[in-house]
Symmetry: C2
Subunit: 491 residues, 2 copies
């Protein structure tokens, strides 16, 4: 971050500005048409012109696609969710541009300067940042990160100038002055952060902050260059051959995982009644204790069609307070959801601390139906395992109890249930021709389930395989496991 003292004269600026603006508008149009989400971060030294730069970009760019985000102190809704909830809420849609004054970098840097976190803790946060940015970039996003810098001398001068003018004195906060005192520390931490988070795909672009005109041109021209490069790559990528739906399993130790389940397990009607009462009552107590301790729960139900997901959910719900749980049946995404990363719709609806959310189907659709039907490309669903693990890890770190059920039945049992549903008038609507067609893909799903369980069963979010041929057995097992997980979390 050498200071070269670059300056641009007014005349030169006037000469270069028109063409730059036109090309920037064209680039935005192209971004919009290509459906690329663009994130522009304006970070750096206080007094280096971050605010001016944001105002300038608001002036130069087409306001219909631009949204500016600032992240101040957390609201309690934000505090009651994992850290990154606020950032996921603020990612632009495909074709949109998000402009960030302050970002996921602000808090880690400020805390490290204030010595609130250790160097190791900072590094853990930088790892999370890399993962977050990679997740977006893998999905086609373009992330442009500016670091505006100033020498210590220039920063001092700049803050003095701002302070001496009554109209701008307010811009100089106490924090700014403290940072000035800590300039060397700030600089060394910033250099570490930039080094650790500047990757080939998401590099940092340092910009000298002293001369406003120079800064504006630098920023504008760099945005242009990055967009043009990204579009070229994007076109290339679009022309690449699309993968066929992928039914073959990966090399998997658990290949015959489902085949090993003992579907003969069952429970007599009498034991069922007693156990049901016992576990519902236990669950009721545990759920209330969890609520008081603000421990959230997420229950994920996946399984074969007619596997009995609804029946299990209906046995869990009566033990809960209707005001404290939400059952979400995951259907096709809305167009707003489709215009974002596939995890966005799930981040969006993360419940507040203490609540219970029951998902009837979930984000695992990515590695099940989307994989089998070819709605997701091979690289997309392959990537999803790690993305999902990261998502669930963030929830678990926040203290959420995550329990994931796969309700397993045999193919024959499914047939019997389909037939039975046809005879029950209020269940008939659940059966469509597609359900019958899906039976042909039984084996492909078996592979996908085995891969899923192997790759996303973690200590903090295990898969519970439920032997489901006997409904009574399945319901009690599901209830019991959830009780045990709550008990462990409550200590």
């Amino acid at each position: 971050m050498a200071q070269l003292g670059n300056k641009i004269t007014k005349d030169e600026f006037r000469k270069r500005e028109p063409e730059l603006r036109v090309r920037l508008l064209q680039a935005q149009q192209a971004v919009r048409e290509a459906g690329i989400p663009v994130l522009i971060l304006v970070s750096g030294v206080d007094g280096a012109g971050k605010g001016d730069t944001v105002n300038m970009l608001n002036e130069w760019m087409d306001p219909r696609v631009l949204r500016t985000f600032a992240f101040g102190a957390k609201s309690d809704e934000e505090r009651e969710r994992p850290d990154y909830w606020r950032f996921w809420r603020a990612i632009p849609r495909k074709g949109g541009i998000g402009l960030y004054v302050g970002s996921w970098y602000s808090d880690p840097i400020a805390r490290r300067i204030g010595n609130d976190i250790t160097r190791a803790a900072l590094d853990a946060r930088l790892t999370r940042i890399r993962t977050f940015e990679k997740t977006l970039v893998d999905d086609g996003a373009l992330i442009i990160k500016f670091w505006l810098h100033l020498s210590k001398k220039d920063q001092k001068k700049r803050l003095k100038a701002l302070e001496s003018n009554p109209d701008t004195a307010w811009r100089v906060t106490r924090q700014d002055k403290e940072h000035l005192k800590l300039y060397d520390r700030f600089r060394s931490i910033a250099e570490h952060v930039l080094h650790e988070t500047g990757t080939d795909e998401v590099p940092w672009t340092p910009v000298e902050g002293v001369d406003e005109r120079y800064r504006h041109l630098q920023v504008g021209e760099h945005i242009l260059e990055r967009i043009e490069k990204h579009l070229a790559r994007d076109r290339h990528w679009r022309l690449a051959p699309v993968d066929k739906p992928h039914h073959q399993p990966m090399a998997s130790r658990t290949h015959d995982l489902l085949g090993q389940l003992d579907l003969a397990k069952s429970l007599s009607k009498k034991s069922y009644k007693a156990e049901l009462q016992k576990y519902q009552s236990r669950l009721g107590r545990l759920a209330r204790a969890a609520r008081e301790k603000k421990i959230s729960s997420i229950l994920v139900f996946e399984g074969w069609d007619a596997g009995g997901k609804g029946g299990v959910i209906r046995r869990i719900v009566p033990a809960l307070d209707a005001r404290n749980y939400r059952a979400i049946s995951v259907g096709p995404p809305t167009d707003e959801e489709r215009a974002h990363h596939y995890l966005w719709r799930f981040w969006r609806h993360i419940p507040r601390a203490g609540a219970i959310t029951i998902y009837d189907r979930s984000w695992y659709g990515r590695v099940l139906v989307e994989r089998i039907e070819g709605f997701a490309r091979r690289d997309e669903w392959l990537r999803a395992y790690a993305e999902i693990n990261d998502f669930e890890e963030q929830l678990a770190e926040f203290g959420t109890v995550i329990t994931k059920y796969w309700l397993h039945i045999s193919k024959e049992e499914q047939w019997r249930r389909f037939q039975k549903r046809e005879r029950v008038p209020w269940k008939r609507y659940k059966i469509t021709e597609e359900d019958y067609r899906n039976r042909e893909k039984w084996e492909a799903y078996e592979h996908a389930v085995a891969d899923m369980v192997e790759r996303t069963s973690t200590e903090y979010a295990p898969w519970i395989l439920v032997e489901g041929n006997d409904k009574r057995y399945a319901r009690i097992k599901a209830l019991k496991v959830y009780c045990e997980r709550l008990e462990r979390a409550l200590g």
Copy 2:
């Protein structure tokens, strides 16, 4: 609310349940296809089975269209917005069903019981409730309100029974017991509330809460009946002739409102520079003071194409802190937005207390472009004046400073600006053929603007007509007015 002691035997329930469930599912399917938003409120006496009823409906109805909402203590994000923000966020989309445990009725009733508000204050809240429900119903929603009741004796019995069972004792809160002591007061307040808010279109349906089976059948059958009636009305309404786009003005005193503006008003370059500096600096100070006092601002910019909205906005923004304002350019709605009341998208993005939001076009599109182009029916845009006034009133009551600008230029000036834009490379994208076509509707817009200003200029949210032929004059006037409004709000 007489107690008739209705009961249903187990056998009879078993006989009636299947048909009811099938018909309910069919009704939901029909609601979905017709795109009707349905709101079901489950209110009433504590211990009368509200929670059970909600669980039952969750079981009976298709979970893919049903969402349950409970409203607990307000989060700070909710506290930093008008009261109804949380309710607007929770209205179902067209074709969806929202189930409400607790609702906009809970807080007014609880506060009146606790004597925190006077009878008159309660009545004011009931008026707001009526307006809210009418707004939704006018837009095609079906609102079903259940009031579950119990006699004093039965309530006592029921709370005792719940308390004596360790699994259900938790359901009895201290508030329940207090309410029991206040049964007579609660009952008389509830009767008043039901009387005041039970309208022909949105009636209350009392349901005896003692017998669970009776309650379930009553609730289920009533939902069915209301949906069927609504669908019949809806079909009728759909067959009604659609209005032609309406260009004619209503009887308006301000018919020649725009014609009376003195477009010759102007400012020399020199005065402009001095005034600009003066008002930007004043605005900077005022905006910071407002932020500290958590006073929000909303600036609405409407005006002719090329009227200079963008230019004014760019003169306001440099005085503001980039972290504290957001400029929103209102384009076509997304499909999620289209699937809700037209005001939903604006409620959704109401800024938190202390923030400044600048709208480049706004909710006034309803009575301008949507009226002129026939995108809204006559009854819809006619209704919009009152709806918008109510919306802005709620913002103003919350302390938000609302300033609305109409940037006026002559038809000749617009032509000159179009021509000029064609010559400025980075402005050319702003000019489309549609802009030229819109000139043919100049008179229709003049009428619509006159109606809009007459009907929505209120003390708390006045329209500022800006003589815009001279850009310098327009910019200073807009800045000056905003400064004055902030000064008044700051006292």
